[in-house]
């Protein structure tokens, strides 16, 4: 219970910092909005292409936002040696990771919920109904997909941002390390979202969601076990 306590304190610290500096919020919201806009230009005026590309654009924006968010959250820890001091305390290293993961995941999920209607509006994509599934259910599964997908991004981004935090060239290194690992998340999330937005195909979306959840579970274990080697001397 004490360890859970530590997790919540770390998450609380990160969220409190964010509430005051707005560094992550400002950077990620504007960055993802710009990404959505730029990709819309890239698709040209083709409404069909726009509709089909809506979810792809959404997830690309979320993936980049995840990198920025994770890197920024460790940046605050590095200032004035605050993390160095914290790691000298008897805090389980997994608790540090979990706390930062919770904060990052929360921010990214919130961002995803904001971007979803924005992407839908910009790209002219609407929740498709096939007459059988209720739109409310489709939306619920879509939000679940966003939560599962951003969790996958956050798991890897927070882990690798912590790893690169003490290395030279960390800004460029983080995406190089992270993106090859999260390709499955990107593919599965885009396909699941497209299935839901396009045709409300719950079966198809569920098949991809299983991959997402499997990824999340495996990496939750892997990252929790390995994190102590990332921050340990």
């Amino acid at each position: 219970m004490n360890d859970l306590h530590a997790v919540l304190w770390i998450a609380r610290k990160d969220l409190l910092q964010e509430a005051r500096s707005k560094a992550v919020t400002v950077a990620t919201v504007f960055f993802s909005a710009v990404t959505l806009g730029v990709l819309a230009f890239a698709f040209g005026e083709n409404p069909l292409l726009m509709r089909e590309g809506a979810m792809g654009a959404l997830w690309v924006a979320l993936a980049f936002a995840g990198v920025i968010s994770a890197a920024q959250s460790w940046q605050a820890d590095l200032e004035d040696g605050a993390l160095e001091a914290l790691l000298a305390w008897p805090v389980p290293r997994a608790a540090v990771y979990l706390g930062k993961l919770l904060a990052n995941w929360g921010l990214m999920t919130a961002l995803g919920f904001v971007l979803l209607p924005l992407a839908g509006g910009l790209y002219g994509a609407a929740i498709g109904g096939n007459g059988e599934t209720a739109p409310a259910l489709v939306v619920a599964v879509l939000l679940g997909t966003i939560a599962a997908g951003t969790l996958g991004f956050a798991l890897i981004a927070v882990f690798y941002a912590g790893l690169t935090a003490n290395l030279r060239a960390r800004e460029s290194l983080l995406p190089v390390l992270m993106f090859p690992v999260v390709v499955p998340i990107l593919l599965a999330a885009v396909r699941a979202s497209n299935a839901l937005v396009g045709s409300g195909d719950l079966d198809l979306a569920w098949a991809w969601l299983r991959l997402l959840v499997g990824f999340d579970l495996v990496y939750a274990v892997v990252c929790l076990v390995l994190f102590r080697f990332v921050v340990e001397a």
Partner: protein, 264 residues
Amino acid sequence: MTAAPAGAGAPVGAGAPVGSGAAVPAGAPAAIELRGLVHGYGGPPVLAGIDLDVAVGRVVALHGPNGAGKTTLLRLLATRLRPVRGHARVLGHDVVRQAHEVRTRVATLPVYGGAYGALSGRENLRLGVALRGGDDDPGAVDRALERVGLIAAADHLVRAYSSGMRKRLALARLTLADAPVWLLDEPYAALDEQGQELVDALIAAARDDGRTVLVASHDLPRSLATADAVVEIAGGHLRVLARPTRAPTATATATAGTGAGADA
């Protein structure tokens, strides 16, 4: 995860007799034990085989030129670096294999404040207490802030603190940790005269409480006044510069004013 000075070693409660080598029973682990400690890579080692025993309850000043390895030694003891060769133990616990046990027994004062700029002084202290597993006691936090003279600035963000105020905040966190071993890295740096006296008073109080204190410093006169021994680290090796106020077998007398608790 108790922050109390638990487990191995001599009793370290308030008012326990300290300052006497004979008072520590034979076989009890030293507060700090270094054997053949080597650290550094890609060049000459910073620490080239250090052998040191610090008895429980002793205040030891660590001197040496910049880059001699004082901070490296303190970080090794705080489990934030691992020895290349040799070993380091704190109250009998190995800093590599029993890092968690060591962390529960050690409190550090980093050169730089080591606090989060986006949190207030009070929030930083509460975070520190919570993560050390202590009870969330606002009264204790307030008393610590009061003692270091930060109570008026307690709710300001640390970002707006001067470097001296950050140091004071770190001192408050140190006292809240209630750890049997203190590692202080240049505690006097950035502090005004009043602040430096506060450090001396805290060290004296720590001695009364039976804590072991290792102080990296450049202020030889202060070290001679506060420490039981002054050691110098240079060229990767360690030697004793002075055993000023308290010889290993003598009890505290020189600074009876601050050590009254121990003498009573």
